[in-house]
Symmetry: C2
Subunit: 379 residues, 2 copies
């Protein structure tokens, strides 16, 4: 599928770029994923008791075969989780969002997690990125993931170049079933695409069935991920049954928007767009104050009179999507902002404090994580 | 380059198929390799004292940059050898030919040899071949290679799926420099080619510079191989300088013809075509007697009168290319056959005895080789 054409001219979502204001309803139709509805939320809740706020608020909004994976779970067949990170820069808040949710799933379902670091992916897709640089990012990104508190006994990291002895052979089995014509229509590959980028999707397919290979039995897989990765997993789902494995299920989230507004997604390559996990309290404060797009009015007087627009306000959105788990507190912020009682500057202060509290802890845990790397990498 | 078109309709040579009566002069022009001439033979002889009969008789007939690699050697910069075997069936005499010569080079130049077993290649290119079957062949083929007497201290085996931790990352570096368009013109890939086969040439490039990577210095590489593999190494030669490595040099041999006549090359998939290294004395005798194409005349009387045609006689060709290193003895056989003094049946007896003597030893060494596998694989 040529995503660009299908999505029209206003926005574009591929595994390598997200442009424009994303119309998620259109994406659901174009990608052919299912919307997460009340019924499936109830089904999750049966097992988790409470629902994560990212589910309650539709941050995770779409899925494939989530019903099936829960049915299997109810029959006693546990699933494993698979997610990942292609190192190509420092980690920002947008990256953390699905990982935080993944950790919740791990805890609630006592699930094994396979976390892939495809360290060759961005090298292959970005002209200027060297392997050396990608691996510097890898070493740093790994610490961010560990810092989130994944259970080292139930979490295995897969670094494509380091675990190629396990992965390359399995990737070849996938690759034999995928033609150039298929990657052309799934990812828009063309005659000038390099042959590493053409092959790459087979490597991304591997963690979805590697545990089944290693344990010699078919194990259901659930992939929490941002929706831009769906084209990979759509292909994976086509191929895996041909190799005798289950189709992986998936649960998909929105993009955390950049500081600049409700457009595309947060990106480390634009400094005015992202809060990095390495940012200092002063940097966070400065970035939010300077760049966080405001849904407020031009003057205080007007704001008091007409109120702000939380739907367009980045600070409110970050609270909703990531930093204020308490629905009541969030509602209050929403209402006060909308009524004009809460000013943009005050809203920003709330967010700054939340982020800095989070990052202080995260940075501490990241330092401690250095001692744990081996446990996650060598298993 | 679309080899099929370039070679015309009478024969075709690609890394995956050889059809028709090969016009080697045309291949030299089409591939753009250099013919091995007297001057370069003299240069080799300076170091080896004697010339291997495969050089004297033009079995190794073409090269790329052989002069350069010898010049570097004279300046004190030693080269390593790289050759390989893609396991997809049992080993036959045609496979042994370049390996026997490679062993001679190893001995004469005291050269390290990197022997690649791309166990994914034929899996990716042959519809019906499973990985399990390819790896059965691998286990057997490895023994054939060891049986030839390569120095375990100076020989390293690279099995693509087993050594992927070392190879995949380097292959990605190559792959980033090769477009689909390039493999389309080099190998005739098309929209229906699977993405593993499209990527594969990058893996075949790796052994040509992996020793340089591991030793952190640029080391010249010489690849002895049958000429059908030239399209791979032509691409490799284009890419390696872009990664900071020397272009690998190569020395290329003819194909050992099948039993059926001077056409295409010996192939294990046709039982009437090949002598396998596992054949018993009786099998060898039966195959040669039944299938080895004869350059003799229809009746003994005619043969005595007009003589045979050694150029077309498979038994004579096998003696020339592989089994009779003594030039004087070969010349005598040639002259007697041509004059009609030597009958086809007698010529076949000479060959049968030679092959069976060789295979008796080879099979013994192959059994002993089992104990050595580890040394070659784990280094």
């Amino acid at each position: 599928m040529n995503i660009e054409k299908k999505n029209g001219e206003h926005f574009r979502v591929t595994p390598w770029e997200v442009h424009g204001e994303v119309d998620y309803e259109k994406l659901i139709r174009d990608f052919g994923v299912e919307k997460i509805n009340e019924q499936i939320l109830e089904k999750i809740k049966k097992h988790t008791k409470e629902l994560h706020f990212m589910l309650r608020r539709g941050v995770f909004f779409a899925h494939r075969d989530l019903n099936w994976v829960l049915n299997q779970y109810e029959k006693g067949e546990k699933f494993f989780l698979y997610t990942g990170r292609a190192p190509s820069g420092p980690v920002h808040l947008g990256h953390l969002m699905p990982w935080i949710f993944t950790k919740w799933l791990q805890d609630k379902f006592n699930a094994e997690l396979w976390f892939q670091f495809p360290d060759e992916e961005k090298f292959l897709f970005k002209q200027g990125l060297s392997f050396e640089k990608a691996q510097e990012y890898l070493n740093d990104n790994i610490l961010d993931v560990i810092a989130l508190g994944f259970d080292p006994k139930k979490t295995r990291f897969l670094v494509d170049t380091m675990h190629a002895n396990l992965m390359y052979k399995e990737a070849c089995k996938v690759a034999k079933k995928i033609t150039f014509s298929m990657v052309k229509s799934s990812f828009g590959m063309n005659e000038q695409s390099n042959i590493g980028s053409i092959f790459y999707t087979s490597m991304q397919a591997v963690p979805a069935f590697l545990p089944s290979v290693l344990k010699s039995r078919n194990i259901p897989c659930l992939i929490p991920h941002a929706i831009d990765q769906d084209p990979h997993f759509r292909l994976t789902r086509d191929i895996l049954p041909k190799l005798g494995y289950y189709k992986p299920a998936s649960i998909q989230c929105l993009f955390l928007p950049p500081l600049s507004g409700m457009n595309s997604k947060m990106s480390s390559s634009e400094s005015a767009s992202a809060i990095l996990t390495s940012d200092s309290p002063n940097e966070v404060e400065a970035k939010i104050k300077k760049y966080a797009f405001s849904g407020g009015r031009d003057t205080v007087a007007e704001h008091r009179k007409h109120g702000g627009v939380p739907e367009k306000d980045i600070s409110y959105q970050y609270l909703k999507m990531l930093f204020e788990p308490d629905d009541k507190k969030l509602q209050k912020i929403h209402d006060n902002y909308k009524s004009g009682k809460l000013l943009t500057s005050e809203l920003k202060e709330i967010l700054i404090e939340k982020i800095n509290m989070f990052l202080k802890e995260h940075q501490k845990k990241k330092t401690l994580a250095k001692k744990q790397v081996k446990k996650f990498l060598k298993w």
